[in-house]
Symmetry: C2
Subunit: 217 residues, 2 copies
């Protein structure tokens, strides 16, 4: 169907299109794929001919309906494989992305749907990103972070934005995982530090940056 490269471009363009009000330029794509803008210009021509994208110098690159549909399916495969690697094969959070980058290109028509079923139709991947359904519908992404809460609010940890091992180790030290209940006691107005209670235990103070990387529902 598509070459490896074509799929990577589609996925990259899709990912960039998720940033609101962001103009998708050749350089932006080049940076996200870590290759040369000249190469990107070539591929833009190719994908335009295949009617998967449209390119307007003023507006940048946009996925066509067909391109969008297929980009979403690639993302779907990526995120399903991430769930598989973490839940079934026991990989850690920070190991799964690169392997899923390879697995997402396996081309069998029914594979994603079978995997989806096998995994119990998960709605979110281990990074908290929504897994597109077979029909292309995408579950509502988490958007509220710990830092968005008002004093007195209680929430549960749904996902994390930052997946660096230093962050994950810090989480572990604080005994925070998916599903952990957190109550916001106070927001320090000086630097927006957050005073929280973790699972009803004693109080802890964390930084604004920390709070912005925890997605809650």
């Amino acid at each position: 169907m598509y070459t490896l490269s074509e799929e990577n471009y589609l996925k990259s363009i899709y990912r960039l299109s998720q940033q609101p009000n962001f103009k998708i330029t050749p350089t932006a794509i080049a940076e996200s794929l870590k290759n040369n803008p000249a190469s990107v210009v070539d591929m833009i021509r190719k994908l335009t001919e295949k009617q998967l994208i449209e390119y307007d110098k003023k507006k940048g690159v946009k996925l066509t309906p067909v391109g969008l549909k297929d980009a979403v399916l690639i993302v779907r495969r990526h995120r399903l494989w991430e769930v598989f690697l973490l839940e079934k094969l026991g990989y850690h959070w920070d190991e799964i992305h690169d392997i899923a980058e390879e697995l997402e290109h396996i081309s069998d028509a029914t594979l994603a749907d079978r995997l989806d079923k096998f995994l119990g139709f998960p709605e979110y991947d281990p990074h908290g990103d929504p897994i597109p359904k077979a029909n292309g519908k995408i579950p509502k992404p988490y958007s509220v972070t710990l830092a968005d809460l008002k004093t007195g609010d209680t929430c549960r940890v749904a996902a994390v934005k930052d997946t660096s091992s230093s962050f994950l180790q810090y989480l572990q030290k604080l005994d925070i995982g998916i599903g952990t209940s957190i109550k916001l006691l106070e927001k320090i107005s000086y630097d927006n530090s957050l005073v929280i209670t973790i699972n009803g235990k004693e109080n802890t103070t964390v930084s604004q940056k920390f709070g912005e990387n925890i997605l809650v529902d």
Copy 2:
């Protein structure tokens, strides 16, 4: 580590080396990979330079110890994925080979071992072929075929040699799978056709070629 093509050549050469007293020639490799002998000659040069194979016009192609080790690991990955596809995702016998051809190239160092563990360390793949262990040891392959039996013998299907979809679909039509009990009623001396009973049901006649592709124990 290796390119897709290199891995496919290694695997192909390994498969051919399993046939006893078979000289692995450029044409033989070309046929098995369905490409041109001229291309094979190029790749023989490349793999020889990388010291993965040795080529002697008289003796044909041979894997070096390093080439053999890595070819076996590719086969290991292929067969483990086949087990996964059949047992976990519910694919049929004749659907799994092509998908495993893609999955086997996923390059993460611990993936095969994790998958092996997840699957419960299976010894044979759904085609009955032995799955090489992580250390390269290979369980004893089946060797007796249906065509080797004497009249009156009863056996169980352990594996198949031919994995073409036409053969596998024929098996499905005859209701033969791994574990199926077969009794040899008669060998037609004219053309060595075999009259058999499948799972105690009514008699069927199959060709010698068919019988030679069913491994039993």
